[in-house]
Symmetry: C2
Subunit: 170 residues, 2 copies
């Protein structure tokens, strides 16, 4: 297997680097959940923890949210909040609303949303990536926001690995 960070065909230079990193993060996240059943995806590591299923849907929700913000320049509307709010916030809401689904449910969501990101990235330039935009009250740029999308995914992949280990030990 080849694992390199480098420019990618079909994208401008920096976007290619970013996509290399997003691809690696995604590949390892998918590897971390391979073969999990619906029951395993619902398992809570502690009573106020998050299930692996909720973490997967959270990854999709974060990406969806930043698509809306950076591609459409707006905040999520009421309908989008209703669909994605629980996955975005996790915690109490996530535990109540995200469960009973097989792995494919989560993988399909992740795949659909990523598909749109890559389509949009094909049309964007490095100048767009460096454009300033606020992030959670910080001075930031589009590059950081999309870095954050994959770094949040890696953070939760780490948690998924711990939860999966707890599952196996039960």
């Amino acid at each position: 297997m080849e694992v390199k960070i480098e420019p990618l065909k079909g994208f401008t230079t920096q976007i290619g680097h970013l996509v290399s990193q997003m691809n690696y993060a995604r590949r390892t996240a998918l590897k971390a959940v391979e073969g999990l059943t619906a029951t395993e995806l619902d398992y809570l590591p502690s009573k106020d923890g998050n299930s692996i299923g909720a973490l997967l849907l959270h990854m999709a929700a974060v990406e969806k949210g930043f698509q809306i913000e950076t591609f459409e320049g707006r905040s999520p509307n009421e309908e989008e909040m209703k669909e994605w709010g629980a996955a975005y916030s996790l915690g109490e809401q996530g535990r109540k609303k995200i469960n009973g689904q097989p792995l494919d449910y989560y993988l399909t969501k992740l795949e659909e949303i990523r598909h749109r990101t890559l389509k949009e990235f094909e049309r964007k330039t490095d100048d767009w990536l460096y454009e300033n935009t606020p992030w959670a009250h910080h001075s930031s740029n589009h590059y950081f926001i999309w870095f954050h999308v994959f770094e949040d995914e890696i953070n939760h992949r780490g948690q998924i690995r711990v939860i999966r280990k707890m599952l196996t030990n039960e």
Copy 2:
């Protein structure tokens, strides 16, 4: 606060991007362990899990290992393996050997090792970053290896957050 991914003064373009990302990962990792006591740093989330202290030393060990490989072009020697082996491998070895230390012990190691990385990066060029080099039997480049250093840190930062939550709930 400013959070951007962009070129950084003192480094070539791509190395600057990489350092922006490493800085952010480090800042959030340090934030995740703020104020922890030696006892909390030794807490095991499960009997075959890793303590937060061990995960911190692991971050330092990974960076140290890739310094030796990519800056010196060799494998760790016996002395280095003795000093860093347990932190690199984690698991049984880590549980036995890494404990009883205050937070500053770990922070000093992280800081010392990062200091060297940045010094070396100041002298490196983007060409060096794209140089091919194997990674764990994969075809890879220096850029990936240093991406991996911070992505592994983010992975463990995610785990630290879960363990810290378990600690608080006990």
